[in-house]
């Protein structure tokens, strides 16, 4: 086994890190480990070791050759060696092989290799500032040892600091605060190792902390936060902050009370009388943790700070679905205080933009769209800052009031843009923006979901209507050239009915008609003439043609384009009590007034209900007459009378219903 000499007394021993049989000293700090490593025959010959042993015995400063301590330090970075020296290294393999679903919240191991130490890290952390570390005493050292150490340390350190440390440790009341701030329950060697590791290898330090009790782990993490570099990933920041918050929630005053009293019993100090005193100190400690986190993240640039806070809350609350550790809630509350003025300013900007959009809505989407672009930017900017607060509030069953008010104001704008200005696209854009940004506000999210459904329905209705309109346009569109040599165009489309470059808009057409006349010479058929006409308030357009396919196609289109509308208008009018004249007959909703011809006396007007009437076609005319009186009849020539086909279609449809009113066919 390797020959070595004791770093403390210079006695010979075997193994660099073993206990000295002479003075019982065992290396326990990083510096002692490095020196012990150097003081063994791995690095020096027996003769050299003898010289060093003499130097130690004579209390002379050891003068190692160049690079010796660096080599020792490098060797001590071996994780297994560190573990053997008293620090438990993280069993990464164990973490990797844990079964079932991956934990939603990051574990320390996930971030253990991600820690970056800031360049301007302080030489001394909060861990080193505790009285135990200042005086290099343990929780089990008695009053005498503490006083001795204070005197010795005063020679090389600030006297007042040492005196205060001594006072804090020897006064039983003050001592409790120091004990809770230290690392209760762990061995002096281990505590010393942590003080060394935090300076030299933060990854190992944090990794080792994973196995400690909640109070020790919290104290270790809180001390390390001050060293974190601002360039470290936001996720890693969040992970450690969450770890600290989570551990601090689990600190058990009874456990700490027991550990403190165990050490006090050994050290010979009066025992703490009850756990309530410890509880009080733990509460102080939690405030310290919060301040540590705040202090650390306040060093971050604003954008990074917001990212970290967002990640912390998302992690701690499982995106608002779970309650967070108390420390996180408190942290968010102070974050909210910090960003309140920003949020108020941005809320004012949103309000102004809403006003501008309302004012500009009459100018149409061209005016509104750029303003909504701006609103989008401002709201997203707002949400970025407010997001941690919203998520935290959600996890507590609350809503961030400022966000809720803003969301509802913007929602009202969207509704008004649709209701008052028919700006469905803009309303939908606003709804989608709000849904994305304010998902953490349950009440608002519900309303927005309803809005979304309504907008989607309106969209669907519009699409269906548009499709129907497109189909209708396709169905009514037709064009034909009429004439053998000089062609004239007969055309119908959504723009109107055209003949010989004269066009009547569809809505202006007030009457239509069509018919055919078969011609014959001496009883021999000589062809058929087809007639179509339409009129507006001023003119009648007549078309004569002899191609049956053009005729039948065109009247089909004309009926769909105009006839149906004329029929509907007429029936609506009848329902409202209007009366219409067809030839010498008068039509109302309940029947017709016909003229009864007398051979030797004046014609007589006869009012007949629909049940008394019948309809037929004869000699190119529509005939409507009373069923029991052949002399009471009206004839409307299809080729000359306006809307004879419209009337015929209405009466035939009515006869199928059996209803006493002609307009009843609209209801079926």
């Amino acid at each position: 086994m390797t020959k070595a000499i004791c770093f403390n007394c210079g006695a010979e021993k075997f193994g660099a890190f073993t206990e000295c049989s002479g003075c019982k000293a065992t290396p326990s700090s990083q510096e002692q480990f490095e020196v012990s490593m150097a003081l063994c025959e791995h690095m020096h010959s027996s003769q050299q070791l003898a010289v060093f042993a003499e130097d130690i015995r004579q209390h002379r400063k050891l003068a190692f050759g160049p690079g010796i301590l660096t080599q020792a330090r490098e060797a001590l970075k071996d994780p297994q060696l560190m573990s053997m020296l008293g620090l438990v290294i993280k069993n990464a393999n164990k973490e990797q092989q844990r079964p079932s679903t991956p934990p939603p919240r990051p574990t320390q191991s996930q971030s253990a290799s991600q820690i970056k130490v800031r360049r301007d890290a302080p030489d001394s952390t909060d861990l080193h500032k505790t009285a135990f570390a200042i005086l290099d005493v343990t929780t089990r050292d008695n009053r005498r040892r503490i006083v001795e150490q204070a005197e010795e340390r005063s020679l090389s350190m600030d006297h007042e600091m040492c005196a205060k440390a001594r006072s804090d440790l020897t006064n039983p009341r003050l001592r409790l605060s120091v004990e809770v701030s230290w690392l209760p329950g762990i061995s002096p060697k281990r505590a010393s190792a942590y003080c060394t590791l935090i300076k030299h290898d933060l990854d190992k330090y944090m990794s080792a902390a994973d196995d400690e009790s909640p109070l020790v782990k919290s104290n270790l993490i809180a001390a390390a936060l001050d060293l974190f570099d601002q360039d470290m990933d936001a996720d890693d920041w969040a992970s450690w902050i969450y770890q600290l918050a989570s551990e601090s929630d689990q600190i058990d005053a009874e456990d700490v009370f027991r550990l403190v009293n165990e050490d006090r019993a050994v050290a010979g100090f009066p025992l703490v009388s009850g756990p309530e005193l410890v509880e009080e100190e733990i509460a102080n400690r939690r405030r310290y943790y919060k301040d540590s986190i705040k202090g650390a993240i306040d060093r971050l640039p604003t954008k990074r700070m917001i990212d970290v806070m967002t990640d912390v809350v998302d992690t701690a609350t499982m995106l608002g679905e779970d309650s967070a550790p108390l420390l996180i809630d408190e942290l968010i509350d102070s974050y909210e205080l910090g960003v309140r003025s920003f949020l108020e300013r941005e809320a004012g900007n949103v309000e102004k933009l809403i006003g501008s959009i309302r004012d500009g809505a009459t100018g149409g989407s061209r005016v509104v769209t750029p303003l909504i672009d701006k609103l989008d930017t401002v709201i997203r900017n707002w949400d970025r800052v407010a997001q941690p607060i919203q998520v935290s509030m959600k996890s507590r069953g609350l809503e961030h009031d400022q966000s809720r008010r803003m969301a509802l104001d913007v929602r009202s704008l969207g509704i008004d843009l649709f209701n008052e200005y028919q700006m469905l696209d803009q309303a939908e854009r606003i709804t989608n923006l709000l849904k994305e940004v304010f998902a953490e506000l349950p009440e608002v999210a519900d309303k927005l979901e309803d809005d979304s459904i309504a907008i989607a329905n309106i969209h669907n209705d519009r699409q269906r209507a548009q499709k129907r309109a497109d189909d209708w346009v396709r169905e009514i569109t037709y064009e034909a050239q009429i004439g053998l040599v000089f062609k004239d165009t007969l055309k119908i489309s959504q723009n109107g009915v055209e003949w010989k470059s004269s066009r009547v808009a569809l809505d202006d057409v007030t009457g239509v008609g069509w018919g055919a006349t078969r011609n014959s010479v001496n009883g021999i058929p000589s062809g058929t003439d087809y007639f179509i006409f339409w009129c507006d308030r001023n003119n009648v357009t007549r078309v004569q043609l002899n191609r049956e396919n053009v005729y039948s196609t065109f009247i089909d289109k004309l009926w769909k384009a105009v006839g149906v509308r004329l029929l509907t208008d007429m029936l609506n009018g009848l329902r409202e009590g209007k009366r219409y004249r067809f030839g010498d007959a008068i039509l109302d909703d309940y029947g017709m007034e016909l003229t009864k011809s007398h051979l030797f006396s004046a014609d007589e007007k006869v009012k007949a209900a629909w049940s008394e009437l019948q309809i037929w076609s004869a000699n190119g005319s529509l005939c409507v007459g009373m069923t029991n009186d052949k002399k009471t009849v009206m004839t409307l020539p299809y080729q000359g009378a306006n809307n004879a086909h419209v009337l015929e279609a209405a009466i035939r449809a009515k006869f199928k219903t059996g209803n006493p009113r002609l307009s009843s066919i609209l209801e079926d």
Binding site: D78, L81, I89, N93
Partner: protein
């Protein structure tokens, strides 16, 4: 196969013997129940009465790298078998020897074939089968591997590998890797313990309750 050999049937017998030898080697290096039987009835019964686990539930510290969390294996041959299949995450195999024990935990020193990495590995051999788990930074080869280390202390590890192989029981000897796999490195003297490893060895030695070198 030559015409006369086939005619006289000699090749068949040779082939059979070769096949049986290979089957035996395969059983020695990989068949856990066969390995347990080789230890004798009493020892086999003791191993079988222990839990078949990949890691001790009460283990603390890094698996296999901390004496409080040793690797469960089946007896001494199980140790050889497990450690011979163990390779670094870079895929390097290791030579190893047993330096002693801390209570019931066997301590092995291991070095990669190239001499680039030195390790201390802790193994608990009172289990009916080998762990299927590898320590952090290592992995277990899928296929059986011939033995590359010893269950006893090698005073001049790993330079005395040929002597140690020669000193092994005859039935085990044939389960070892060919010397050609390690001789080039041995001849080039590539194996030098680094400082950190020596320090670890010192610590482990100081804790040992039984030492193979004494």
């Amino acid at each position: 196969m030559g015409f006369f050999s086939r005619l006289l049937g000699k090749e068949d017998e040779g082939q059979k013997a070769f096949r049986e030898a290979m089957e035996m080697i395969a059983k020695i290096i990989d068949d856990e129940s066969f390995q347990n039987k080789l230890l004798g009835d009493e020892m086999e019964a003791m191993l079988l009465s222990a839990p078949a686990i990949d890691e001790r539930p009460d283990g603390q510290g890094a698996f296999g790298l901390d004496e409080r969390n040793p690797i469960p294996v089946n007896g001494a041959i199980g140790e050889l078998s497990y450690l011979s299949k163990l390779e670094t995450s870079n895929g390097e195999r290791m030579l190893f020897h047993r330096v002693g024990a801390i209570n019931t935990v066997d301590v092995f020193e291991a070095v990669t074939f190239s001499g680039s990495g030195w390790y201390i590995i802790f193994v608990d051999y009172y289990h009916p089968r080998r762990s299927r788990k590898a320590p952090s930074g290592f992995r277990i080869a899928n296929e059986p591997r011939q033995f590359s280390g010893f269950h006893n202390f090698c005073r001049n590890f790993p330079y005395d590998f040929p002597d140690a192989k020669q000193a092994s029981a005859e039935f085990l000897r044939m389960a070892y890797i060919p010397l050609g796999n390690v001789m080039p490195q041995i001849e080039k003297k590539v194996f030098t313990r680094p400082m950190n490893h020596k320090a670890k060895l010192d610590i482990v030695m100081s804790k040992m309750t039984s030492r193979s070198d004494i």
